[in-house]
């Protein structure tokens, strides 16, 4: 104990002389903390870019610790919108509401069901970190609609997605169901009679004529001829009609973008002389219906239970294992796009561009701009290099300090301190320096990160856990590096003999 006390006194006493080592360790810790923040995705920008996340098959996102269904229901009574709530799965998607939903989280590309849920669940079995698995289903259909200029109704191929749509109270209410799309109403909607058979239509879709709110929409689904390994084989010669009431139009905002001409030049406001910024949207052909209704339709088509899904959301208890979980899932399912929320930072640049056509309309297309981010390998290299430099600084510093303190070490040896105790003394000081330095660097960055956390609707508990885990990781690595680099000076000090020291007095 006295050895540790001596070490502490020495660290404090020599803090000025040890400043270089502390500074090196602080910089290394700061770099690592910043890297962890980005990697684990708890920084604010990650939450701002969920809407970019349109093409993932398997999405991994954090499970937040606070769930307040009442708050979401309250919002739902004010205006119609999709919300993420799935009581049967015990879904925590609700916890991601309203922000994630508002920003277009979990929008599948449509198509045939492809994800084997059983295999996925098996791959996830035994992982304590998995908080929930949330499959989303789609059935292809033909929409019968009469567009402008059509003499008779025509068929338009559309994907019909089961969404957990909560209709406004004024529309008679609807089952709260989970989904993953940001929907913003573009009209007041209309009351409907059947809570199960109602639909929402993308107001901006060019894939089919617009269906007025309140009108009946006829959807023709192909019968399920058979199911192969849980995947339906549809019989397009046997179409079955189902009627849904269109209760509203939605649109999916993706943010805003400077308006450009077809030639790529910015459109400038004539009076103000500034670039024109316009909101941007996705347009998708998807018809959204309650997932329970879609499950009923599937059974009526001759299917049993859908065992494959278009898209699956996986919520995690802690995002610290997100990267590892994503990597393992990607290996298990090489044909799927597996993304973690932090990947959104990388995807952030792939927004939507607004282009003014010659006719004056605005057309939207996906941009190819890439946001500058640090590649993972480079980030890792920076961390390793910075800690190596910090370690060398610590080692050099300790060599100098131990050389200056030969007398003290000699006295300790003279009164009976063993070489192991001298070794412990020096190593304790090294660790002390590392802890001080790494905590300083960590706090410097983490204060900023924590500040952002409060604005990203991360719960206090989650923020606290993230911070604790990051502290352990950063300080732990710092101490490990310090111990490795401190071994040599400690060993040098431990093997010096008393006579050597006292002889040179």
């Amino acid at each position: 104990m006295i050895i540790f006390r001596l070490a502490l006194k020495n660290v404090l006493k020599n803090a000025n002389r040890s400043l270089l080592a502390i500074l090196g360790m602080a910089i290394a810790a700061a770099i690592m903390t910043g890297s962890i923040s980005m990697r684990t995705g708890y920084v604010n920008p990650a939450f701002l870019d969920y809407r970019r996340f349109m093409q993932a098959d398997v999405v991994i996102y954090p499970k937040k610790l606070h769930v307040d269904p009442g708050a979401v229901r309250q919002r739902a009574t004010e205006e119609w919108e999709t919300v993420k709530y799935q009581p049967t799965f015990g879904s925590d998607l609700l916890s991601l509401e309203p922000r994630l939903a508002d920003e277009g989280f979990l929008a599948p590309p449509g198509g045939d069901p492809d994800i084997d849920l059983a295999a996925l669940r098996q791959a996830l079995a035994g992982r304590a970190n998995i908080a929930g698995v949330h499959p989303l289903f789609t059935i292809p259909a033909m929409l019968s609609a009469q567009g402008e200029g059509d003499a008779v109704p025509r068929f338009y191929r559309v994907p019909v997605r089961g969404e957990d749509v909560l209709a406004a109270k004024s529309w008679g209410g609807g089952p709260p169901i989970a989904g993953g799309r940001a929907l913003v109403p573009v009209d007041e909607g209309s009351p409907h009679q059947s809570p199960q058979r109602f639909a929402l239509v993308d107001a901006r879709s060019k894939a089919h004529p617009q269906i007025p709110v309140g009108s009946q929409m006829k959807l023709f689904f192909p019968a399920v001829r058979r199911e192969v390994a849980g995947r339906p084989v549809y019989d397009w010669s046997d179409l079955r009609a189902f009627t849904f009431t269109v209760v509203g139009h939605y649109q999916i905002p993706t943010g805003s973008s400077p308006l450009r001409t077809e030639e790529g030049l910015p459109v400038v406001d004539g009076q103000e002389g500034r670039s024109v910024i316009v909101p941007t949207y996705w347009d998708v052909p998807d018809i959204l219906v309650p997932s329970q209704a879609l499950a009923g339709v599937y059974r009526e088509l001759g299917g049993t239970a859908q065992t494959r899904a278009d898209q699956v959301g996986i919520s995690l208890n802690s995002m610290y294992l997100a990267k590892q979980t994503a990597a393992e899932l990607q290996q298990a399912f090489p044909n799927f796009g597996v993304y973690t929320v932090p990947n959104l930072v990388r995807l952030a640049g792939e927004g939507v561009r607004a282009i003014q056509t010659d006719s004056g309309d605005i057309r939207y297309e996906r941009g190819r701009d890439q946001q500058m981010v640090l590649p993972a390998d480079l980030s890792r290299t920076f961390i390793v290099l910075s800690f190596a430099i910090a370690g060398l600084l610590v080692a050099t510093n300790m060599f100098i300090l131990t050389a200056q303190r030969r007398q003290e070490i000699g006295i300790l040896r003279a009164i009976g301190a063993s070489s192991r105790e001298v070794f412990t003394l020096i190593l304790s000081e090294v660790i002390g320096l590392a802890v001080i330095g790494s905590l300083a660097g960590f706090l410097l960055i983490q204060l900023g990160v924590t500040f952002l956390l409060f604005f990203s609707k991360v719960s206090l508990a989650e923020a606290g856990l993230s911070t604790l885990a990051a502290t352990a990781e950063v300080v732990g690595l710092s101490v490990l590096v310090a111990v490795l680099f401190g071994l040599l000076p400690a060993w040098e000090a431990a093997r010096s003999t008393t006579a050597e020291v006292l002889r040179h007095e």
Binding site: A414, I415, S419, T497, T498, L502
Partner: protein, 262 residues
């Protein structure tokens, strides 16, 4: 001690310390009450500087329990080196040191360190107190190294600081103490683990006459009251009156021993 060693098990000596054996070899043997407590036999120390400097030449010295010995000689005659060899701070080039039957040559560095903790106390010319600790903490340090309880450490520290007249200055840093006061604290530290032998290397060399005399008197008092053996190196012949024996050294050799038998 010899009886315990005769059992064939490593000798345990208080507070879990064990230095009776080194790698299975018995290092302590044949010590009987009445034998010299400390023996230096044909001690030679050669330093590899230039052509080689012989600091101590074939010195033999037996120190009896409770003896007060002064080692006197001119500067550079090898008396401090001899003290280092006797205390196990340095290893002789030739010869052997035996403390209570324990041969230093059979102890490794940690074995010698353990021996210094419990059986040998050192007092240095430059006091060598740790500046980061208070006077009391300096005195307590050797006791903490052997793992005494806080209560026992506190009791002994008070006792020792009281004995050297430094109780009121217990919480002062060495920088706040005069040379004489520092040396008294250093003496208290040397006695903390109640060593059988105290080795003092020029303890008065950095003090004025008055303080030097007080320190020697202090040693003599401990020697008389606690029957602790003292070997004091000094160049000041006036302290000879306190010694049971005076060992004169010159050019690395013992040239004369006054009083008792060498």
């Amino acid at each position: 001690m010899s009886d315990r060693l005769a059992t064939g098990r490593p000798a345990a000596r208080g507070h879990g310390e064990s230095y009776g054996y080194l790698k299975g070899k018995r290092v302590s043997e044949g010590y009987q009450p009445g034998d010299p407590i400390l023996r230096g036999i044909n001690l030679t120390k050669k330093f590899l500087v230039g052509d080689g400097v012989v600091a101590v030449r074939e010195v033999t010295l037996d120190v009896m329990p409770g003896e007060f010995i002064l080692v006197i000689g001119p500067s550079g005659c090898g008396k401090s080196t001899l003290l280092s060899l006797l205390g196990g701070l340095d290893r002789p080039t030739g010869g052997e040191v035996i403390l209570e039957g324990r041969k230093y040559s059979r102890l490794d560095e940690n074995g010698l360190a353990r021996l210094r903790r419990t059986s040998v106390g050192f007092v240095f010319q430059f006091f060598n107190l740790l500046g980061d600790l208070t006077a009391a903490e300096n005195v307590a340090l050797p006791m903490r190294l052997i793992g005494l309880t806080d209560e026992e450490i506190h009791r002994r520290t008070e006792d020792l600081l009281g004995a050297v007249g430094m109780l009121e200055r217990a919480n002062h840093s060495p920088y706040e103490l005069s040379g004489g006061e520092q040396q008294r604290v250093a003496a208290a530290r040397a006695l903390a683990n109640q060593p059988k032998v105290v080795l003092a290397d020029e303890p008065t060399g950095n003090l004025d006459r008055k303080n030097g005399l007080e320190v020697i008197k202090l040693f003599k008092r401990f020697n008389a009251e606690r029957r602790q053996t003292f070997v004091v190196v000094t160049h000041d012949r006036t302290f000879a009156e306190f010694a049971d024996r005076v060992v004169h050294m010159e050019d690395g050799r013992v040239i004369k021993v006054e009083g008792g038998a060498a």
